[in-house]
């Protein structure tokens, strides 16, 4: 699975990397995939799965190794 953790969420990537491949052994809810990566779901403001906006807490959103997920944090200006 291709992962892009935008902004401050890159802090939680392996080695603090923002873009990386994260292999998963079978399909699973996106929330479970985030948990395995180590990204705290409350800090994901916008989630994209293959370019489509989805809810993090929707158990019907299933991801596989073929998918790409983009996680964006809440932003507070600057």
């Amino acid at each position: 699975m291709k992962v892009h953790l935008w902004g401050e969420l890159g802090f939680y990537g392996p080695g603090k990397r923002s873009t990386f491949e994260f292999p998963i052994d079978n399909e699973m809810p996106v929330a479970e995939a985030l948990r395995r990566i180590g990204v705290p779901a409350p800090d994901v403001a916008v989630l994209g799965v293959n370019g489509v906006a989805e809810r993090v807490d929707d158990p019907a959103v299933i991801v596989t190794n073929r998918d790409r997920i983009d996680c964006y944090p809440p932003t507070s200006g600057g």
Binding site: W6, E8, G10, P40, P42, D43, A45, A53, D70
Partner: protein, 637 residues
């Protein structure tokens, strides 16, 4: 004296050509500790009501914060405050860098400029003494030349130089101040005010250390050392250090709140051209402000096929990327970087410049302006070459610049044709690059802020959505315990904004950057309290710091009331009450009645009259402000 300040204000009478130092006691400083509070107090006290913003009666106050210059990350800020030539209202802009800390170490907490010099001058401040020097040879020169010439004249390689550029000399009402070429008091035209006084620069050098002023230097130093080690251990400050503000663009686009085509849309179909990956390709490094471990300042340098940029100046920061990029429908990061560099070189606020050009572009689209009105420029959305030429013409106030230098509000008044509905400004100040339809608390801030549509007057709504998020947890010690959706305008959101604005204002009094304290970043609320206690010896609490922030807001409001502003000025551009036309939030608008209700509720919380927006006598009594700055003869700018 050991309560974190020098206790001294330098007064410079430019008409008479004299300087004097005035001292204040500790009781005064506990009420007006520095920064916004001290400067606003001085403005109310010194400026006669109704003063022409570009006349000798206006007063420019430059005030460092209580903690500015402390060995504490992000404690670098100073405020520039005067009546704004762009808005006629309270003018306010902050900057970090090195000038503020140096002023503190030179034994001065604030400089008050009054009158007008009959010829160009610059001011030299060293260890509590000041001289007014001739600047005839500096007038009209580029900023790097001026900085180098002043350093050579005084024989100080590290004299810190605050100056205006060509736009300030030409009195463009949104001209800025810059220090060390890389740090900017961008908003509300403080550069034009300094230019109107015939002051090109103020250079400072001090030989003291902040810790000499601290009540408990050991404790303050220990807090600073501990915090500097935690910068990379906190996600928000790690992000600022790693990417800086250019890292914001993609996330705001994904959320549908990236201002696009003069705020018509909330996402940009060609964002890849200005997003993080594009920016990273031109980034040459990062820089810091004084003693700050965050190091968020982006630096770019490249030789491109069409444009080249050096690392002489700062940026582009996010505001320039969105302002010249998506909001002008330009998807070339190299062009955006060149536009940013031009503004810095000429001394223009990038936000108002970009906002005014975007407004003009929409006027062209509607047929309200043509090339004949714009000195021959074809200022269509997406025309980057015309944008670059327009920036130079604005600074010189020639050709298209004669019109564009007015700013979007005055342009709309001149053009008519319904253009006021899409002049994206409040009180005359162009909106920063944050879309209130997706984060409505920012809209409350835009509308009610005394200086106009600034984005750094409170913390943005997405932080307060999820109580388990890092940002929200950082706000809990402020008393914010209930979450609120980003587009909600109910009582919870109004309460959050009231607290958020007071805390943000306290940061401006203390001299802390927006990117320092929680909830935006890594310095927790308790750390701020501890730092103030160590610096001052005062037994301050969170409640007292919130009150200090609130007092500063009320001083600004008192100034506006005195100058004839009222509730009718606390309004958003009509466009924000109409649906977004593109992006994930297509169709979303801010309901006008709900918004007006939220403003009434906010006024009530603040102790302001819901009908007029003026602080009530009870409010002023509570804050110890009764009788401050009384005057009459108000006139709108």
């Amino acid at each position: 004296m050991a309560f974190g300040t020098n206790g001294t204000i330098l007064r410079v009478d430019l008409t008479q050509g004299t300087t004097a130092v005035e001292t204040f006691d500790e009781a005064f400083y506990r009420r007006y500790p520095g920064g916004k509070a001290l400067a606003a107090y001085e403005l109310l006290r010194e400026m006669p009501a109704g003063a022409d913003p570009l006349g000798p009666d206006n007063v420019l106050v430059l005030a460092v914060g209580l903690l500015t210059g402390a060995p504490l990350s992000t404690a670098t800020r100073f405020n520039a405050i005067a009546r704004s030539p762009l808005t006629g209202a309270f003018g306010e802009s902050e900057a970090g860098g090195y000038w503020g800390p140096e002023l503190k170490m030179a034994g001065i907490d604030a400089i008050v400029l009054t009158g007008r010099s009959p010829h160009p001058v610059w001011i030299w401040v060293k260890d509590g003494k000041a001289e007014i020097r001739d600047a005839t040879a500096l007038w009209g020169q580029d900023p790097p030349f001026v900085q180098a010439a002043i350093r050579e004249e005084v024989g100080e390689k590290l004299a810190r130089v605050l100056q205006i550029g060509r736009a300030g000399e030409n009195l463009v009402p949104y001209a800025m101040l810059m220090n060390e070429l890389r740090h900017y008091n961008g908003r509300t035209g403080m550069g034009a005010v300094m230019g109107s006084k015939n002051v090109r620069a103020i250079a400072v050098k001090g030989s003291h250390r902040y810790l000499e002023l601290a009540h408990d230097a050991q404790a303050l130093g220990d807090i600073g050392k501990r915090l500097s080690k935690t910068v990379t251990e906190h996600p928000q400050s790690w992000d600022l250090r790693t990417k800086g503000t250019p890292g914001l663009t993609d996330g705001l686009n994904a959320a549908g709140i990236l201002p696009t085509r003069n705020f018509r849309q909330g996402s940009f179909e060609q964002v890849e051209g200005i997003g993080w990956t594009a920016f990273e390709a031109i980034r040459s490094g990062t820089r810091s402000c004084y003693a700050c471990a965050v190091r968020c300042k982006p630096e770019t340098a490249f030789v491109g096929q069409r444009y080249s940029v050096t690392d002489t100046y700062d940026g582009p920061e996010y505001e320039a990327i969105a302002g010249f990029g998506s909001n002008c429908a330009i998807f070339d990061i190299e062009l955006v970087a060149r536009a940013n560099e031009l503004c810095n070189e000429l001394g223009l606020d990038v936000i108002s410049t970009a906002g005014t050009v975007a407004f003009a572009m929409e006027c062209v689209e509607h047929g309200l302006l043509g090339s004949a009105d714009l000195g021959g420029l074809d200022l269509r959305f997406g025309n980057g070459e015309a944008l670059l030429e327009a920036i130079v013409q604005i600074a010189d106030r020639r050709d298209a610049g004669e019109l564009l230098a007015l700013g979007s509000r005055r342009m709309a008044e001149r053009i008519g044709g319904g253009s006021a509905a899409f002049a994206m400004q409040v009180k005359g100040l162009e909106l920063a690059m944050h879309e209130p339809r997706g984060k409505v608390g920012v809209g409350l801030g835009y509308a009610t802020n005394e200086a106009g549509a600034d984005h750094l007057v409170g913390f943005h709504d997405p932080i307060f959505v999820n109580p388990e998020s890092v940002g929200f947890k950082g706000a809990v010690p402020l008393g914010i315990t209930e979450p609120s959706p980003a587009r909600d305008l109910g009582a919870t959101k109004v309460g959050i904004w009231y607290t958020s604005e007071r805390w943000n204002s306290a940061e401006k009094v203390l001299g802390l950057c927006f990117f320092g304290p929680a909830p935006r970043s890594f310095i927790q609320v308790a750390d701020v309290v501890d730092a103030v206690r160590a610096a001052t010896g005062w037994d301050v609490t969170v409640a007292e710091l919130l009150e200090i922030g609130e007092r500063a807001v009320n001083l600004a409001r008192m100034f506006n009331v005195r100058e004839g502003f009222n509730r009718s000025d606390d309004r958003l551009p009509d466009r924000l009450h109409a649906p977004l036309e593109g992006g994930p939030l297509t169709g979303v608008s801010i309901d006008r009645d709900t918004f007006e209700g939220a403003i009434s509720a906010l006024y009530t919380l603040k102790g302001w009259d819901p009908a007029t927006g003026a602080p009530t006598p009870e409010c002023l009594e509570r804050l110890g402000l009764a009788g401050v700055g009384a005057g009459s003869g108000a006139t709108r700018g």
